[in-house]
Symmetry: C2
Subunit: 404 residues, 2 copies
Amino acid sequence: MRVLLVGAGGVGSAIARIAARRPFFEAMVVADYDRGRAEAAVAAVGDDRFTAERVDANDRAAVGELLTRHGCDVLLNATDPRFVMPLFEAARGAGANYVDMAMSLSHPHPERPHEECGVKLGDDQFAQADDWEKAGALALVGMGVEPGLSDVFARHAADELFDTIEEIGVRDGANLTVDGYDFAPSFSIWTTIEECLNPPVVHEAGRGWFTTAPFSEPEVFDFPEGIGPVECVNVEHEEVLLIPRWIDAGRVTFKYGLGTEFIETLRTLHLLGLDRTEPVTVPGPDGPVAVSPRDVVAACLPDPATLGERMHGKTCAGTWVRGTKDGAPREVYLYHVVDNQWSMAEYGSQAVVWQTAINPVVALELLATSAWTGSGVLGPEAFPARPFLDLLTEYGSPWGMREQ
Amino acid sequence: MRVLLVGAGGVGSAIARIAARRPFFEAMVVADYDRGRAEAAVAAVGDDRFTAERVDANDRAAVGELLTRHGCDVLLNATDPRFVMPLFEAARGAGANYVDMAMSLSHPHPERPHEECGVKLGDDQFAQADDWEKAGALALVGMGVEPGLSDVFARHAADELFDTIEEIGVRDGANLTVDGYDFAPSFSIWTTIEECLNPPVVHEAGRGWFTTAPFSEPEVFDFPEGIGPVECVNVEHEEVLLIPRWIDAGRVTFKYGLGTEFIETLRTLHLLGLDRTEPVTVPGPDGPVAVSPRDVVAACLPDPATLGERMHGKTCAGTWVRGTKDGAPREVYLYHVVDNQWSMAEYGSQAVVWQTAINPVVALELLATSAWTGSGVLGPEAFPARPFLDLLTEYGSPWGMREQ
């Protein structure tokens, strides 16, 4: 297998470090808009299977040329979701397979944004599913930790743990703190705003997909391994769009353990219009300039990828499932916890970034070894779960299950 | 009396409208950095005692020349506090008296900003008090509503209502809302951030002036005339620097009824570093640009001066006093309420701006008629309160008193 990894930010760099320990691929080309970042990611692994390139992820022709020139058979997208469609289409154009960790962006319903879906996450990708299937090519979408491992957990529950499923609820929570900062998100604030202020989507059997107001259905979820109870709210997330395509469940939700303070911060940013991406005009040193308020918010906060050394605590991704097995009610939480102290010591990557990065590497290895095969636009739950969960454990990062 | 009014913004324009109904002065020259604003303020009153001029408030020589050319005996400063010192010194240089509504700016203590005062509000002005006194000239400082009328209330309480005073607490609150906006401050957000995030100052007999952390000593104060309970916190304000110079009181505070939501909003802006004035670098259409986060916050919100027509509710300024009279404990709140609907109908000015503007006009009339006389740098509480309060009532804007 020859991989083109696009994006050498926090997640892309961690992917390189994790993959470097595995023998399943021949080459990994690390490409970024900033050549220096790509070179740093390659230098950090000290493995001559890796090379650095510069590329503009928006430039389909340039991406296609890179795939061809390096003879890559798969493109792994580690950029932000704005670049999903150009990279997805560039891979298809060059005849390569494609893996990403977030799906094409949604657009709210123009009149009833908090009741009905408009363009859903992934719709633009699924619209091209026939092309991929006809070509016998695979686009594996949403293959990070959430979406990704959370979808694998749902598949595992459906296959081995339940006869009928009433509800699948992905639940994400952490107890991470950052020394020296009163407020320092552990993940990109730009993406977090996008996720949390878009109308959350819910799926119900018989009703299909629908949306609610942001921060709906708050609940306190008790996370394992000492993280404890965290306030969670509905957030727009890919799992809700993926799981119902392959798994029967009465209801599918995603709730993010943002905590009360973070929720209030996001509400305030929205109230003041500081979440907006459309530019506003402000005085600059050489006259008025146009800037996106959301970019200014991001510029005022520390870069989460640089905070690993100052971070403490654990992050938990998981899937809570309620249903029946052998006629009796059952409720389980399948989860994966990463301790920042461990991921920093072992890989030099902070926990949230590392937890996202390990899953596409495991998936690539399953594809390289043909443990996973398929064509079309497929989510992680379209594949058998057991090989993935076993290989994750073999990577040294076991998952857990709590009967509730 | 011949008046040079510098500043034709919201407050300056309202001063012109209020003064135009009174016969006590011969001429009022309205000067602004933007000649168009000065001309609009003059055109709105249709009174040939008014003329418009252009002036840079920072240019002492130009201001002095205007005072001399128009034979003005008093300069009324209606600009923002950055221009206090040049206008104060220009008036002294030209031999004119001087009135303002905010005092020279403070600078926090370099090491212990939340415990000790650095340069206090008004310090730069009081440092020149001897010059004014020797010249027999008067600088009446802090003569708006707060500071201003609030100081007059303190004088009235000390003279007529109390034998001993334990505490004087200026308390400001409102129930103003703006149609069509979930969040729309009724006063400049730039200035509000400056006031609210500077360390608040408190005075105690025996201890003198000291500072606290922002938003300290929260209390819910019940405002009159239907405004009701509002959460108030300590804010840096001139009254705390003025009142103890002329009135004996155990403790003097200023608390602003920002309300819980507004306080949390300011806390969040501070937590995220969005209150900063130092520039951050963000992507612009033609490459990276440097912008001040606080300017971006202001650009995201509507201009409060344009909101009068959409505003509803009342604003209350007042002074709460606790002490003894004839051996018995007493507690009163002296207050002045303006209903936005009334000020818009009667003067075309929104309530907060109009309430600030009426007080310096009343003071000028008292100086013109020699009901108030004095020399040096003096606060409103250095003069008898009764003539002021009676003339305010005669202007059609009565004050009230609540025994608690």
